[in-house]
Symmetry: C2
């Protein structure tokens, strides 16, 4: 926050500033200054719609209020009274006039809607005297006392910081005494007594009488609304929704109109289109003879808006027309509040309607088809991440209804991370990890989670917590992992000691099944059938994505390791495979023993072969006198090589793997047809394929202490030594990627042979192929140069053998800063770059993702040390800077360099926007994020052209 150095000059300039805007002076563009509500009321006023008289105190006034230590800025109060006079003139009433009193509401309203987060005071201006005037004016004594009672109650809670429950208790007491069932059953007399009780409560709580001066009431209410900007609820909401904390709230003061003046009165809310489905129908609720708060509070059950049509057809007609007009005017679905006072309609609010993902997509497509908006606007109307909701497994709706009917709905918590999951309830992370690792479906249930639980969360199908909000650890981690999570489900009680949860009188014990719906927050007992997403049924989404494809410049590819993933990626619209990780194929059950055999033999075999080659080179150069000895050495070494078990094992395993890999690649190429497929050569440290060191260490120690099985001990010790020899302090930065290829060239050669053989076979079958071979983790141009030369020789050799030509490319993954810094050199030997932003983020920050996310990154984001988790949202100023540098340098060397991104960021909309700006050719992401990426890429293109045309 900036403070000016000379407060006295500041005060002087503040006094000259305009803090207050009558509705007629505002418009819809002034949201920053007047808040959404104030701007909407002003816009409606100027559009000639029936809006009560009023004015708005600006958000700047709110900020000045905080800067001055919670004091109104100079001039603000005077301008408020000035504006009030205008309202009085317009309404013909006067605040505090005992004969014809003006009552007002004092309403908060920030730039971005924060529903229910801040405070509003109604019926302000009432006291013993004005009450009489109100009764006289309305001719309704009961109404008058009810209004007064509501005012004291609301003012007490919001302005005087009193406990609502105490008022409620008095109200209940009154109802009990009089036998009233509803508030509205209380007579004027009862309400009058209640007012007296309320006033006494205020006296008791504050030590002072309830403020009876209406101007004093107004002053205090404005202060209270300003203060509500910084209540905890509001701060948390802004944190979660990434709304800046320095915007401030505006305050609108509006002449009261009353929906509770009998059956010709009423109040309601309505949407111009169905916010759940997007259908074009007026959708909303209406409560006759009620004030707005009654609708929100849910005390009485409101009627469907259609009822209004029957009860007050003229009013309904007028309202429906206004709704259409507002939608046309704002060119978007509106969320409206209105009040009917004795047959006269008043509009109290219009704002853009919140909507479900499904509704957002349908509304956008419909409106574009209706020519209300352009297709470009339609594309910008849907938040790409919302599409996620179309893509997760859902519970079968029928099955869910059935479960609810059977009474299996246990509770509803916060819908913290979307998706649906069923599994055994497990009450600690260790056990969850054990079971989950064995492939069992587990729901981790905790009071709340902390970083010690992450290992369990990683393998759980879903997470349920009894405490914590949308920003709690469970919620944040689950969203990060893309797993369903219901958080803060306070209605259940978790007992980790007894290993059970209670919900009311129901009990779920460990290993019993539960089902959680992270999209709705519901928790069920037992199993519920899930259904996979079926995008082909989503016509509007398909339409929207087709429009996106027409607009976007970025290609959208997918990361896929198996033919079935490749198939799904194509269905979702992927135009290529940006990353096919060959190591996943190595982990398959029938292959792992072969892979282990290869790895355990690789070191010795390679060393023997290298040393034979070295001896042969020396022989060629040896002097005559040295030659016989040298020849003997070569022969010895050849003999050793021929007899070596290691070499037999190594090449035998490679030969077997070649068969497997060739079939793997055939499947993928077949699925992708003429689309490009980038295959990354083996990348992870080899010890990842071996048994875990710690487990072997325990086994060996046990065998050693027991001493009962020497042969097994010896075998395990041998394995332990081998694994120990390959262990690394920091495997992320160790012997992996192209470094492996440079040491154990035969593995790479096998993979390239498998790729080329697969391609040749398909080519002969007439299936087009576009293989791109990616050499990972290059940091120095020489690494790439050497590996590529070696492998291109293999590729040409296979082509010769098979008599086919394959349009292969060689390129590299850019994953370490040095590759970006020297991209001009690297591009000399790479036909394509693919940014591996996971590793690039790790090395640029110096974070090991495995360690950082559990140990400190969450805290970093919570404490705003970092704006986002850089593994989810690409860090533009650091990692992004390197990417831009690499693209520029790479293209300087090779203008047609194909550049893409295949890290997880490839599916994040903000990161996609960055990639568009950086001039990448494509982004590659998980198949499930392909639709999101298509939309995000279109939005990036649209924002850029907007920016350019704005220039």
């Amino acid at each position: 926050m900036k403070l000016t150095s000379k407060p006295s000059r500041q005060a002087a300039s503040d006094a000259a500033r305009k803090w207050v805007y009558p509705f007629r002076e505002g418009n819809a563009q002034m949201r920053d200054l007047l808040g959404g509500k104030g701007a909407g009321l002003a816009e409606m006023t100027n559009a000639g719609l029936p809006v009560p008289a009023g004015f708005t105190i600006t958000t700047e006034a709110c900020n000045a209020f905080y800067q001055a230590g919670e004091q109104f800025p100079p001039g603000m109060w005077e301008q408020t009274l000035e504006a009030l006079k205008e309202v009085e003139r317009e309404s013909g009433k006067r605040l505090g006039d005992p004969k014809n009193p003006l009552l007002v509401s004092v309403r908060s309203g920030a730039k971005f809607s924060m529903p229910g987060m801040m405070d509003t005071v109604l019926n302000l201006g009432l006291n013993e005297l004005t009450l009489k005037g109100l009764v006289a004016a309305t001719g309704d004594e009961r109404f008058g006392w009810d209004a007064y009672r509501r005012f004291i109650q609301m003012f007490g809670k919001i302005v005087l910081d009193m406990v609502p429950a105490e008022f409620e208790a008095k109200l209940e007491e009154a109802k009990r005494k009089t036998g009233a069932r509803l508030d509205s059953d209380l007579a004027a007399r009862d309400l009058r007594q209640l007012v007296e009780a309320f006033l006494a409560l205020v006296q008791q709580h504050t030590g002072k009488a309830f403020p009876s001066d209406p101007q004093e009431q107004l002053r205090l209410a404005i202060q209270a609304v300003f203060s509500s900007w910084n209540n905890k609820r509001a701060i948390d909401y802004r944190d979660f929704n990434k709304i800046p904390h320095d915007l401030g709230t505006a305050v609108s003061i509006v002449a009261m109109v009353f929906g509770n003046l009998g059956n010709e009165s009423g109040t309601g809310v309505a949407f111009t289109r169905d916010p759940a489905t997007g259908e074009r129908v007026l959708y909303g609720e209406y409560l006759p003879n009620a004030q707005g708060e009654d609708v929100v509070a849910g005390i009485r059950t409101p009627k469907k808006i259609a009822q209004l049509h029957e009860e007050m057809p003229a009013v309904y007609q007028q309202f429906a027309q206004i709704a259409r007009r507002l939608e046309q005017h704002y060119r978007d679905a509106q969320d409206l509040e209105f009040t009917v006072e004795r047959g006269r309609l008043y509009m109290l609010q219009t704002r853009s309607a919140k909507r479900t993902a499904k509704a957002a997509v349908k509304m956008a497509v419909d409106m574009a088809n209706e020519r209300l908006i352009t297709r470009a606007e339609a594309l910008l109307r849907v938040e790409p991440n919302q599409i996620n909701e179309f893509l997760h497994d859902r519970f079968d709706e029928k099955a869910k209804e059935g479960a609810a009917a059977q009474g299996r709905l246990l509770a509803t918590g916060l819908n913290a991370s979307p998706g649906a999951a069923t599994g055994q309830a497990i009450f600690d992370a260790d056990k969850a990890k054990d079971l989950g690792s064995r492939g069992e479906a587990v729901i981790l249930v905790r009071q709340e989670t902390n970083p010690d639980d992450v290992h369990g969360m990683l393998v759980a199908r879903g997470i349920l917590t009894a405490r914590g909000g949308a920003t709690s650890h469970a919620a944040v981690v689950a969203r990060g992992l893309g797993k369903p999570c219901v958080a803060g489900c306070e209605a259940i009680e978790v007992d980790p000691e007894k290993r059970l949860l209670r919900a009311g009188d129901k009990v779920v014990r460990e290993h019993e099944e539960i089902s959680i719906d992270g999209t709705t927050g519901q928790v069920f007992q037992g199993r519920i059938q899930t259904v996979p997403p079926d995008l082909s049924q989503e016509k509007e989404l398909q339409t929207l994505l087709e429009w996106a494809d027409e607009v976007r410049r970025l290609g959208v590819w997918a990361n896929a390791d198996y033919p079935r993933d490749a198939q799904r990626a194509v269905e979702f619209g992927a135009e290529g495979i940006g990353l096919c990780r060959t190591e996943h194929m190595f982990f398959e059950e029938e292959r792992l023993p072969i892979v282990r055999q290869m790895i355990l033999a690789a070191g010795q075999a390679t060393e023997m072969e290298d040393s034979l080659a070295a001896l042969q080179r020396e022989l060629a150069q040896a002097s005559e006198e040295r030659r016989p000895a040298q020849l003997r050495q070569v022969k010895d070494a050849q003999g050793k090589v021929e007899r070596s078990k290691a070499i037999k094992d190594y090449h035998g395993a490679l030969e077997q793997l070649l068969q497997f890999q060739r079939e793997d690649f055939k499947g993928i190429f077949r699925a992708m047809g003429s689309r490009p497929v980038i295959i990354r050569l083996l990348d992870p440290p080899l010890h990842e394929f071996l048994p875990r060191y710690e487990e072997l260490l325990v086994e060996v120690t046990e065998l050693r202490v027991r001493g009962n099985n020497p042969p097994l001990l010896e075998e395990k010790q041998g394995l332990l030594r081998a694994v120990e020899g390959m262990r690394e302090q920091n495997p992320m930065l160790g012997l992996r990627g192209c470094r492996l290829g440079l040491l154990y060239g035969a593995i790479n050669e096998m993979q390239v042979r498998a790729i080329l053989e697969a391609c040749c076979t398909l080519t002969r079958e007439g299936v087009p192929v576009r293989p791109e071979i990616m050499i990972p983790l290059v940091g120095h141009v020489n690494e790439l140069k050497l590996v590529r030369e070696q492998l291109e020789a293999v590729a040409r050799q296979v082509e010769r053998e098979q008599g086919a030509k394959v349009p292969y490319k060689f390129g590299t993954m850019i994953e370490v800063p040095r590759a970006c810094l020297t991209a001009d050199e690297i591009a000399q030997h790479a036909e394509f770059f693919s940014f591996g932003t996971n590793d690039l983020t790790q090395t640029t920050f110096g974070y090991s993702r495995d360690d950082a996310e559990g140990k400190f990154l969450l805290q970093y984001v919570q404490r705003k040390i970092l704006p986002d988790n850089p593994f989810q949202v690409l860090d533009r100023s650091g990692v992004g800077q390197l990417i831009e540098m690499a693209v520029k340098k790479g293209r300087a060397t090779r203008p047609d360099l194909e550049v893409g991104i295949c890290g997880e960021h490839g599916g994040d909309p903000s990161s996609i926007e960055f990639c568009h700006g950086a001039g990448l050719n494509y982004v590659s992401c998980s198949p499930f994020r392909v639709p999101i990426a298509r939309l995000a890429a279109a939005q990036a293109a649209l924002s850029q052209s907007k920016k350019e045309s704005d220039k």
Copy 2:
């Protein structure tokens, strides 16, 4: 290698090129083209010195020879014959003239001297006929036959690729038959028979007669010399000395003069100053009646050059005068070759003299004092790394002589890495590691080493191998580790099975002591007293370093963790401490238990305190209804905090550590006085201070299986869990540096308090202090901002408590790429930057040094994938690019930003040159490298001003 696309045009242009330069056409500046030898002979010729007639074939001809597939380039042979004619004219003799034959030598000579690496042929031009002419001309038949026999022998070996031993055998046979003791005892008759035997040998080996046509001899000899550029010896030598392989060798053809024409003849080599000590005396050897090769071959013991003064005073006078003239002319000590033929002096070579470090320093200082060279030139005459030789432990010379006298000198190998060490001979790396880790002095003895031995090499005092050269694994690793190494000591035989070594008839068994001198290559039995370096005795070095200090712009600081290191650093000329690592203090024996107590309690204690603070914040904001419950929670938490053992342990340990650290810092500040001291706050992952996980795991498993000590098992299990909780997959990239400080703020606060309290005490004592507090591993400006704000509050608090002002600075270590990329932001909160180039290299390349050096980096350097080990020589194009960016961005924000480097590169001359160019304020290195850095910094300044004045 670049090949032009049109060979015919190339050939045409080659033919027009000048390939041959008579001596009178060359000069000293033409080393690139004529090689060192050719340029020297030309320069001497033109200076009017007595040089035999001759000419030089250029290095370009050599390169063209290789490009043409080992063919002379067009025109070269014709130009050679042309130049030969001029020699014939000048000498009055003719090649192949039976009456008055010209004999020539054919000598190699590259730009950089490669002594003994390439080949030379003498006496070329002899055959049956010309021999007669030679005998007639010299009147010495024996000489004639001896010359002929030498020629055949040398030509056979070098040109005809024959085995020298076969010639030697014939020679020995002849001596045995005739009873001759020395070669010179053989009579003309004997030599004639030997010539016949040699010629028969040639016929037998080549299947052809010895080439008798002198022109054919010349052609073949030139070819052979060209070819010798690429013999294995020469390639290895260039690899080791980083001489490019594409320079090529020149070939000089020189009219023969004979030092073996009786006692008025002779040959010798001499230095214009003593190459061992640098003293200004004519130093060299002289062999009467001998050819040059006899001196080099060491067959006869030569006389000191002073003898010449007595034997041929006039010649000596002339030679001494020439020596002085050449030194004056070349402005450097010269290495001269000369021959006296029947009382007439001929100069055959002059070149810059190789010299020991000591001599280099003394010569440079003396010559500057003599005004032969400027001080700037003196500074450039010493290779900074040579100063290393002044800084290592050495064997006491007397003790070494004594050991030699006792017959304890076992053998002499290659002086692969300087320094002296004594210890038990140990024959495998595992055992070396075990003993070395326990602090025992170990010399690792291996046939040769490989990466599996590195763990043993790390703890050994020195390394001895029987095989391998200066670029062998042992040599490279030892130099990297700064440990003494004698490599390729072929005279010893290592028997790892029997665990002993043999040297002749001596045997050293495992655990017996040996001593190795890596500076000389000597290996001794038993212990030899070592002496530490004493720079204060090295007057010339002191002088040179003072001159360096006058010239350099870069400051030279030292890395020092203890007062004694700080003291030494100051003695060596350090101007500040660039890195004081506080964690080393934590490892001291009496402190480690306290540190462990702190660490084991830190997590729980911090969590409890954080959660209490959070509850208190919530209480302040709680609504009335929530307040009582909230208050209860706060009181509960307070109670827990008060009763908590973890909190007591944590703060108790911190309090104890505060005392220790305060004393540590006092000692260092006292040693440094008014010089700046940069103290780095705790950096390593905390688990480094705990017992090793694997060891605990074995202990616990043993206890569990044995089942005989449940209480101990439980205790160890608790510890195991704690250590497991802190383990990381990639600790290098985990919870360390400022990340620790952000999670466990109290540790940083304790350290800053200790620093400030120490400073306040000293300030009151009148000792000046300049503390600079360094926050490590910052990657985002917010990390620095938060930590600094917290710690600056502590600093001010201590100043208030102590009533003193301390001129402290806060800054950061730049160790991850992101810090460089965003240095402009970071500089807003940093008063200084210090580049931690070890970590920056790790993250820029994505290399874990621990893993990379053992697993692949050595291969990378050997295979020239990387030009150097980037942990030794700063990688300019990657890491350097980041550093330059950071300096630029940092200074843009804060022009007076103090910038230095504290990684190991701070002591490497090439890296220092880079730091100078990048505009750093200082380099900081190990105290022992401070003198090296002072000189290197001066050289960097001088090269820069030279470059600028050259512009």
